[in-house]
Symmetry: none
Subunit: 214 residues, 4 copies
DNA sequence: AATGAATGAGCCTTCATTCAT
DNA sequence: CATGAATGAAGGCTCATTCAT
């Protein structure tokens, strides 16, 4: 339920606290992410979050200035952790790996990250562009950074000839990411095999590559 | 913004004040669908809906018994109209058309229906499985009918050998539909060409078909 | 459910109508009395009354100018019919009957009237002095007329020596009437014998009469 | 206006703002009892209750979960306090007191309790069996306990021969209690003498006792 | 770090009533 | 006589948030 993200961009509440805020802080985020993804943001009350975190509503305000800040942080964590996982997975390939292989690695890492931090990422996917103004501003930069990385991968593939020229590149990235993101709505980790899901996605997407292999 | 759906369960009124009648009813649905898809269900108040429909909140209750009933009806209309459009498009093919052609026709019709009734369908997609209990019950039947139709198309394709055997059929339908549905989150009708979007989807999905054509 | 009261003090709605207003009018009163006594005045809506009377709410306004007028008329009918029944029963005695016998006759008639027109009288008892200002004014006169009649019976009994002098006459009338009126809260016509109830009341009240008989 | 009842199911708060604590709770009950008995339950709004208690409506919900819970608690307090007062008064008699004396003591205690906590008991009497389902369930047990106690007193009197055999015992208890309860509708503490009211009640009810004394 | 108590804002809904037809 | 449609008023209740302790 928790996430590997370590640093928090909020200034530490009061007294110097080494790394990232109290345990309560992370607990609140975890609890809130679980509830936001299950019931929605507005449908989850601060009292409910507090109760599940073992405290009363006013206590939450010691750690966060508002409900929206909680959402904002969840979204950031979701996007950043996926961003990080995808980059690491691509960089783990040999330096001269084919662009196609890089994209396939990215697909795998993206799906895996999605379902590893399901509460965070589900919240993130659900609230794409529907969040309150203020939250949107905080998160937009992270989203764009991630989108840019994919655009870069696709550009490399196009340049190398790996990418089929019959495909409209303007539509490609949202289609691919959207397709994967949507799996949070139906893929049940308890009843399926995640690696097989990834293989299916890759098989379905074979249309991207003009030079059929195998 | 409106939809081709005809029947309503209210007995058709005669001739109200001015020229109203069931016109108010449809107007409320249109307005509500637009707001639900843009801001969300809970974030939209009955007062707002009423205001945009040119009346006061209590008047809405003359036509609908609750806010949830409005949502329920929007979801039904969305699903039924897409269902209808897809079936018609498939049935318009020659009786002996290849299963693959049927699926391609279905993809086109689904995407077109999605973006033709964007407010209704966006509401529907956004609230997949997150709607209040009571609403879910009303809509479940329609959703299942539609899902069954796709399963049937895929089964035919598998039987005829059109469908690649390397693809996990359990994951196929949600992946395809999810990918298309997700386009409502990013495809902007004002700035793109819908038919080209469809072609891109079909191209991306070529992995489905083992016998590469062209 | 209906009542023997014939004349209504409301001016006949529009066109001359012989005696008392339409059948609908009486039907509405009957239905309203039943609901007021069962659920209370505020808890009964005009829509409910209309529905049980086989019409829609606005139609009720053809017969009555407001919900309060309906209540007002029910209360009047209840009090007047009991008043009438009690007087008739006393006057049916021989002219020289003992005051005690008159009071006993009045007790019997009061209880009988109470339970014959139970919906009307129950409404009346329940809303003793709790009705909206305007309604109270309309009904006060009727109530006082009836109370005066009992005071007169008691005065006669006191004058004749029938009434025990050890009883505070100031408290007697409300105690007697209250005791009888309260029976509408518990006496179930379907499961008891009304005449026996009356006998029990008379037996309980024997304390009134100092000269024990039988 | 207040009542001797002590326990509340809320955990006793520590020390609120100023000197509140459970004080607000009791204040709300007192205020609500006064308004319910004067205007009725439905006719009293939470906003009114709050205003008379010196707060705003939402604050009331900190102490009670619903308007009905307030009613429920008022009814419980009314019935329990009367129950307690009556029992104590009977138990204060010599152990070998005649059943008749016990009943007379009970009558006195009941009437005194009724008019001592007039707002609570008036609410209770007014809403005999007309309260919302959920409230009825909470209070039924208390009511039955009290009714049973009276039945027991009457049974003792019957067994000892104190009670007149010509009186239908099935009707006796509701007649007696109803008569006393009804006094809340007309007896004005400011203008009468409560002990004299009790004596009048006892005198009126002499019919119960076949062996006339004094 | 936490919380008891309170509150402004606002929401969904119901209701008595109106009015043109 | 009756009603379809609409509305001002108000009601019960929830919520995010505050603040003194």
């Amino acid at each position: 339920m928790s996430v590997e993200e370590k640093d928090s961009q909020q200034p530490a509440p009061k007294k110097g606290r080494g790394q990232s805020g109290s345990v309560s802080r992370r607990l609140i985020l975890d609890v809130a992410a679980a509830m936001f993804s299950a019931q929605g943001f507005t449908e989850t009350s601060m009292r409910e979050i507090a109760a599940k975190a073992g405290m009363r509503a006013p206590s939450v305000y010691y750690h966060f200035t508002s409900k929206e800040q909680i959402l904002s942080e969840i979204l950031s964590i979701a996007i950043r952790s996926t961003n990080l996982a995808v980059r690491e997975s691509v960089e783990r390939l040999p330096a001269d790996a084919a662009p196609r292989r890089k994209i396939e690695a990215a697909v795998g890492a993206h799906v895996r990250s999605l379902h590893r931090n399901i509460h965070y990422t589900a919240t993130s996917v659900r609230y794409q562009g529907q969040v309150p103004q203020e939250v949107a501003l905080n998160v937009r930069a992270d989203r764009e950074t991630y989108a840019d990385y994919w655009q870069q991968l696709l550009a490399e593939a196009a340049a190398s000839g790996d990418l089929s020229p019959t495909i409209n590149r303007q539509f490609l990235q949202p289609l691919i990411l959207g397709s994967m993101n949507h799996t949070i709505n139906w893929y049940d980790a308890g009843r399926g095999n995640l690696e097989e899901l990834i293989l299916t996605v890759l098989a379905l997407f074979k249309g991207m590559w003009p030079h059929q292999d195998r």
